[in-house]
Assembly symmetry: C2
């Protein structure tokens, strides 16, 4: 039985604001009827759009504010000026227990900074991380950190493993998610001491996950593991590079099919197959970076997405909040730090 869950949505975030946020929520509600919503933003803009979605309107309330965090505002500015903004109030609804998760398509840096300030890192988390869902040939995996911070100690990488495993448990419904640590293939390479150390920690700590050791960049999309752990600089570059490569190959494919009348005809006949491929590669299908390691769930949608894409981010917020992820993670972290304390006090 699905549990009722309330999500607080930053109605003004993203390139399109309520024009995308409200229809997106309506789509997600069709899939998850146990959802209800708090729309935070300018009710003059929200009300008429919401009126067009009566089923959604019946399960929603509006928290009015005209204050908005601009897309290119610096996080430090957003923190100073953003109190009372739609982003701020959506996060505050989670902090106050009025909502189970917040979703925003707004400025990533501002959202991260506000989420840290309002929701606060969980006990035992040195650094929150941003986790991305990554399509694989089998299904999806979780990659973190994709850019909350640059660099990570062995302990922080191990905490990422626990956070990612908690998210995998919530989304993939596996009790012992498989976890890999992203590393480079060249054996001689100096450095990455923290990656080697994290490897030792994860091997020794008997965590509630199935640790599989190192994996390389080309194995992420193969679905080798449920969770890929990496520090945020390389993780962000990997994510963006994969997106760019997918786009690049899509362009190659289009060019190749337009070359001759025969290949055009073939492409026309095969359009059902191309449609499947297009859906499979549709970035809106898997949209949403999740902030992990805070006392509350916050999901970041792509700023430029449409209703379909925003609905994916709302789905993600729902699935995360429905799963009891935070409670479970809190207890996993306690066990981990207890073991770390007894096993390897030097890394503490």
């Amino acid at each position: 039985m699905a549990q009722p869950r309330t999500l607080a949505l930053d109605a003004m975030g993203g390139d399109h604001g309520p024009e995308v946020v409200i229809p997106g929520a309506a789509l997600s509600l069709e899939r998850h009827p146990a959802l209800s919503f708090i729309f935070v933003g300018d009710e003059v803009r929200i009300a008429p759009i919401l009126a067009g979605h009566p089923a959604l309107a019946a399960r929603s309330r509006v928290v009015h504010t005209t204050q908005v965090v601009a897309m290119h505002e610096k996080p430090s500015q957003a923190l100073r000026r953003g109190k009372g903004s739609s982003m701020w109030l959506a996060l505050e609804a989670v902090q106050k227990g009025e909502a189970h998760a917040a979703v925003s398509a707004g400025n990533t840096g501002a959202l991260m900074a506000m989420a840290k300030l309002i929701l606060r890192p969980m006990k035992g988390i040195e650094r929150p991380a941003i986790a991305a869902l990554w399509p694989t040939i089998t299904a999806e995996c979780i990659v973190l950190d994709v850019g909350a911070n640059i660099g990570a100690t062995a302990r922080q990488l191990s905490e990422f493993a626990l956070m990612g495993a908690a998210m995998a448990r919530a989304l993939f419904h596996v009790e012992q998610p498989t976890v890999g640590l992203l590393n480079v293939g060249v054996e001689d390479v100096k450095g990455a001491e923290e990656v080697k150390e994290a490897n030792a920690l994860l091997k020794g700590a008997e965590l509630p996950l199935d640790y599989r050791g190192f994996i390389e960049g080309n194995e992420i999309g193969q679905g080798k593991v449920d969770v890929v752990v990496v520090e945020g600089f390389a993780g962000n570059i990997a994510l963006k590079t994969a997106e760019g490569t997918a786009k690049q190959i899509g362009m190659y494919l289009k060019d190749a099919m337009m070359r001759t009348w025969l290949s055009r005809l073939g492409a026309l006949l095969a359009r059902g197959g191309f449609k499947v491929l297009k859906e499979k590669m549709d970035p809106r299908r898997v949209n949403g970076g999740t902030f992990l390691g805070l006392n509350g769930i916050a999901v970041k949608s792509h700023g430029g997405t449409d209703a379909l894409g925003f609905a994916s981010a709302v789905d993600l917020g729902y699935e995360m909040s429905e799963s009891g992820l935070l409670e479970r993670l809190a207890s996993d972290l306690e066990t981990f730090h207890h073991r770390l304390g007894t096993v390897s006090p030097a890394s503490h």
Copy 2:
């Protein structure tokens, strides 16, 4: 007029040894008739294969050794035991001036370690780098470092920019190659101080290149710049991730085309287009990591490649050695360090 160039080939390197190296060299010779070769390895295995390629045999000599560096030998072991091996002697031929470049499909870590020891870093280079050719929607770009070292200081990143620009000048025949510094998009991110510092250095130093500032992972394949500079951990992960993503999408495409008889028929009619796509995405077309920053050129081919792929690595060795790259780079480095010394002594 093409200049005569001699390449020293490690005939025993890679998964297939002379069975791939010799036919690969023969293919490259067809494209570059000014080439001649030194094959280093077991002449009992080399001679019969070489005899099957008379045009190549006429422009080749064999340096005999039965010693081979194993594919999974550790670099430190390879350095201790590998003196006199086919890999060692190929590099030594470059060091002695008998060859203009060495090409090996052997163990990357061992090749890097030996190349550093035998060829020695150029004056003004703190750390050599491995550069990869990366296919873009317009042509190709150069990405470095893809795994010679983990982490890089601002000065080292600036040296990578100079090395990459020298390589771009040699391969793409542009006098002022465009250069971008790979960074993450999240503005608030702490750290990456060395990337920010390198940005300032590259902006200020009036180098013989067209510095374009930061670029993100999704822009590499767009062909935005000729040279992408990044430290080796993130660079290696980016490269492998792009390879994995290309493979993954190839699998999606195959599946999508096999779904219905109509899409199969369409794919059959469009096979000319698919062939073009396949060639475009063929990893053998762009094969070879180049070690930059040493007093000599060494190219690493993929270990598992075939003759076509090995020929690409040989082509690369030829183009690099034909261009006077090292002399030009030496003078660029001198200018850079001179300016660095006067402009910003703190970073020195």
